[in-house]
Subunit: 240 residues, 2 copies
Amino acid sequence: MPVPRAAAAGRRGGIPEATVARLPVYLRVLTALAESETPTVSSEALAAAAGVGSAKLRKDLSHLGSYGTRGVGYDVEYLVYQISRALGLTQHYRVVIVGVGNLGHALANYAGFGTRGFEIAALVDADPRRAGDRIGGLDINPLDDLERIVKENEVSIGVIATPAAAAQDVCDRLVACGVTSVLNFAPTVLSVPDTVDVRKVDLSIELQILAFHEQRKSSGVSAEPGAAVPDAVRATGVSA
Amino acid sequence: MPVPRAAAAGRRGGIPEATVARLPVYLRVLTALAESETPTVSSEALAAAAGVGSAKLRKDLSHLGSYGTRGVGYDVEYLVYQISRALGLTQHYRVVIVGVGNLGHALANYAGFGTRGFEIAALVDADPRRAGDRIGGLDINPLDDLERIVKENEVSIGVIATPAAAAQDVCDRLVACGVTSVLNFAPTVLSVPDTVDVRKVDLSIELQILAFHEQRKSSGVSAEPGAAVPDAVRATGVSA
DNA sequence: GAGTGTGAATAGTTTCACAGCG
DNA sequence: CGCTGTGAAACTATTCACACTC
């Protein structure tokens, strides 16, 4: 079924999404190993520390290139560098956090933020009473200054930690002044042009997913009895 | 076509993970619709509001049963009920939050927590100076009381918001006293028996994933032949 | 006519298993 | 030998397109 459609495998940029999502985990483990001066790791050991299977790990790394040594494993330092590079962490990204409530506060203080390639350019909040306060060494700016801040600092990533009702508006403003990646903590679906990437982090969704599995454990796993309605409807086609 | 081998003919609990992860989004949109007293929605409208394609939405809902009406759409109230039930939200879950730093503080105040089937049974922190403080109407308990609290309240979900160094230990203790679902905010891979579900929420991983895509935008995206970088989008849907 | 529900086609991901290098 | 790198197989998920119901 030809019509190969050039999957761009192997070529630059052809790293599968699922792999990209795991690279940061490997990177974290490798960084810890580097600090304890471990020179090399096997796929087996690295995979165990990252909580994945070794075959998956090797396949993931194979998308970056051939950086292991057969019979030995991977050089820790070198692999740290290669993964950082693949993720684009050799560049610098400036971030603006909008909304300095409890969550924004937590984010502003989050140490891992500054560590690798990310820099908080500014904190912004709609509440004028908060403007001028400092958190983690950073001033809080009024929302009106958002556009100026983004442009002056060449911010490329916006973090939205506002209430749900404000999120789309803030997002539109960020996008309008050139932000191309958004991390959304507000419980809303944001709509953006498809040149912009949005990732969402949503506590209540995570809890609900856990609830689903939790429920399944407590009720006999065999069937799904449902509450009051006979739901066995599963009309799986007519199966002839 | 290779031999199919004995596939999942049995169809057990049968809702795909990917679907489970989206149901909470649909539920949120539907809840909003219910509040604005909209009686029915089409898959098209609901999908748009949830940010997915309509075919995907219909397929997702079809795993719960046949709850739509052809030519009309879905009854909002009824669908809210069916999704809630499928997710196990008709049951009640008690949650303990361990670690009341900035993030734990934010979580404790998170309104969405109490809303649907979840109840924060207790807050726990290792710092004895914090014990006795109250946040959002809840006392902070010393870490030593963790086991007692979990058992007395029949906690089934543990939320870990401690520093990375403490996370595995806290997790082990939670698991030892019967917690079967864990939501981990600490930047570590937790290891648990496979009877326990862990979901992780990790800010720096999300940022790194965004960085990857960001990098790809700024460097000439050489690998993509057909799709240029049409930027008419720059001006769309914004103003404000 | 409008819009759901679903087989079939396609795309993406994980797992297997082993060839081959150090 | 041990361990990486990788085709091929198995599985999971998305998209298409249309029969069928209201």
